[in-house]
């Protein structure tokens, strides 16, 4: 009988060991580090020819606006986009990861990606982390089977809906959708309704603000309208401008182009973008 314990291969799944340590530290009085949340309004709706996704552009870190104009509509595939709410790092990482998985899958199958593929990959990942990956997503796209719109919650459950909202501004945006959504909207009506819902979130929710981003996806292709609406412009700019006091005097201005000093050797192939 050997004295040393038998080496057991590590089991799969999330390891909760550190959670106990975190709880103990919080009890001892340690303040958990705050993380960048996107406290957000994200929406999606299905119209006659496809899917329209919308998002605001404010990223908050507690009470402070960390990024006034961030991008919350993430690329998944040429025909699939995903809006993300919750912890910014989580939404970025999880959408990037599934986007590359979809690309590899496209190379392997030789076909366009389907929305439910992205849905299943995302929900499997989020469920296995038992809600610790704080990403709430609105996934929309058009594939060979038609337009699809789904919501994905941090614990891994999903819904299939004609119109959806997520984030802290979801109630404000949902009240607009519940009051005004109809089936068979045209592109103009759909974009107008999405912009209205996002504006409702921007003006009625403190976690959302700045501009409106919109992405329209149809069978023909996608149209990414970054900053489609800017309802919070910076209106006051001092007319006098800014004058800086003179510090050091400029003695000599001589410009030497760096290209003359540098030798460029062509080795190997360029990396593809």
């Amino acid at each position: 009988m050997s004295q040393s314990a038998v080496e057991v291969p590590p089991k799969g799944g999330f390891s909760f060991d550190l959670c106990k340590r975190n709880d103990m530290l919080i009890q001892k009085g340690l303040k958990a580090p705050s993380f960048l949340k996107t406290g957000t309004t994200i929406v999606g709706l299905i119209f006659k020819d496809g899917v329209i996704l919308g998002a605001d552009t404010r990223a908050t870190e507690g009470p402070i606006v960390a990024d006034k104009n961030c991008e919350k509509i993430h690329y998944m595939a040429p025909n699939i986009y995903c809006c993300g709410a919750g912890t910014a790092a989580d939404t970025e990482a999880v959408t990037d990861m599934v986007s590359s998985q979809l690309r590899l899958h496209r190379y392997q199958t030789g076909r366009d990606s389907r929305v439910i593929t992205a849905l299943t990959l995302l929900k499997k990942h989020l469920f296995s982390y038992q809600g610790q990956v704080s990403a709430a997503l609105v996934l929309g796209g058009v594939d060979i089977t038609g337009p699809h719109l789904h919501t994905i919650y941090p614990h891994g459950s999903t819904d299939t809906l004609p119109f959806a909202t997520m984030g802290s501004g979801s109630l404000a945006a949902m009240s607009v959708f519940e009051a005004k959504y109809k089936e068979g909207l045209t592109r103009e009506e759909g974009v107008k309704l999405v912009a209205e819902a996002i504006c409702s979130g921007i003006f009625n929710d403190l976690g959302s603000g700045s501009n409106v981003d919109i992405c329209v996806i149809t069978k023909e292709g996608k149209e990414y309208l970054r900053n489609y609406m800017e309802p919070n412009p910076r209106t006051y700019v001092s007319s006098k401008g800014y004058s800086f006091t003179k510090k050091t005097e400029v003695l000599l201005t001589k410009i030497t182009p760096l290209m003359e000093r540098v030798q460029i050797t062509e080795v190997g192939e360029d990396m593809e973008e």
Binding site: I116, T120, G146, H148, A172, M174, E178, E183, S200, N204
Partner: protein, 245 residues
């Protein structure tokens, strides 16, 4: 209502005896109230449900009552505390009538009285667990105000309590105008109540709308709203993905 506070005990509010003397949780609750000012006065809407936790216990509770000649009070939150407030206001109106001087309490005065009552109860850690909406018309001037259980009080052109703050206020901020007619006002309130019916789990489809004008208060008969469930996406949510959910 008497309550004993041990004088020599520093943790007076923390021991079990003191707990039985003050409100800790609400039991039977009413959900949102939505109210707007319109051309001739004030319109208020509420549903008739009283929830006991997650059970829909009572379906015939009138959460809006006329106060005196000029005011209308709507309440969300604990129903028993609302009934207590009605008793206080009854006494107030009675005393006012006994002066028999031709004056009567207007909505501003009632609102002020309620604010004082709510705030003082909150300071004693024994709140009346309600958010109250007070609307009225006196001498041609419409008045609409709100008091919460911690004594926050303000007046505005449109107010909502509970879930109504998140779901109805955005719609009202967008679509309210000072010169709404009675029909337009009712339509706007119904729009808000419909969204609440879809998205608030404690809402029921049996509502009343109350109108207060210079002439007086009328509370409508209970009725229900039409809802729409025929989206094609609801018929077959897993089309294109047989077996998924």
């Amino acid at each position: 209502m008497t309550f004993t506070i041990p004088i020599d005990n520093g943790d007076a509010l923390k021991n079990a005896e003191a707990d039985s003397q003050r409100t800790l949780y609400p039991y039977v609750t009413g959900t949102s109230i939505v109210a707007i000012k319109y051309k001739d006065g004030v319109l208020m809407a509420s549903d008739m449900g009283g929830s006991y936790g997650s059970t829909l216990r009572y379906k015939n509770i009138e959460r809006m009552q006329a106060i005196g000649k000029h005011s209308l009070l709507g309440a969300s939150g604990e129903i028993s505390d609302f009934q207590e407030i009605l008793r206080y206001l009854d006494e107030l109106v009675l005393n006012d009538n006994m002066w028999d001087d031709g004056n009567s309490l207007g909505p501003k005065e009632v609102h002020n009285y309620l604010t004082r009552v709510m705030y003082n109860r909150r300071n004693k850690f024994n709140p009346l667990w309600n958010t109250l909406v007070l609307g009225g018309v006196k001498n041609g001037e419409s008045y609409l105000g709100m008091v919460s259980m911690i004594g926050v009080s303000f007046e505005d052109n449109h107010v909502a309590t509970g879930f109504g703050n998140h779901l109805a206020r955005p719609i009202l901020r967008d679509e309210w105008r000072a010169d709404l007619s009675f029909e337009e006002g009712v339509k706007l309130l119904e729009k808000c109540m419909r969204v609440l019916l879809y998205r608030d789990r404690s809402a029921i489809n049996k509502l009343q709308i109350a109108k207060i004008t210079e002439e007086g208060v009328t509370v409508s008969q209970p009725y229900s709203l039409k809802t729409f469930w025929e989206f094609s996406a609801f018929h077959n949510p897993t089309a294109g993905a047989q077996g998924s959910w």
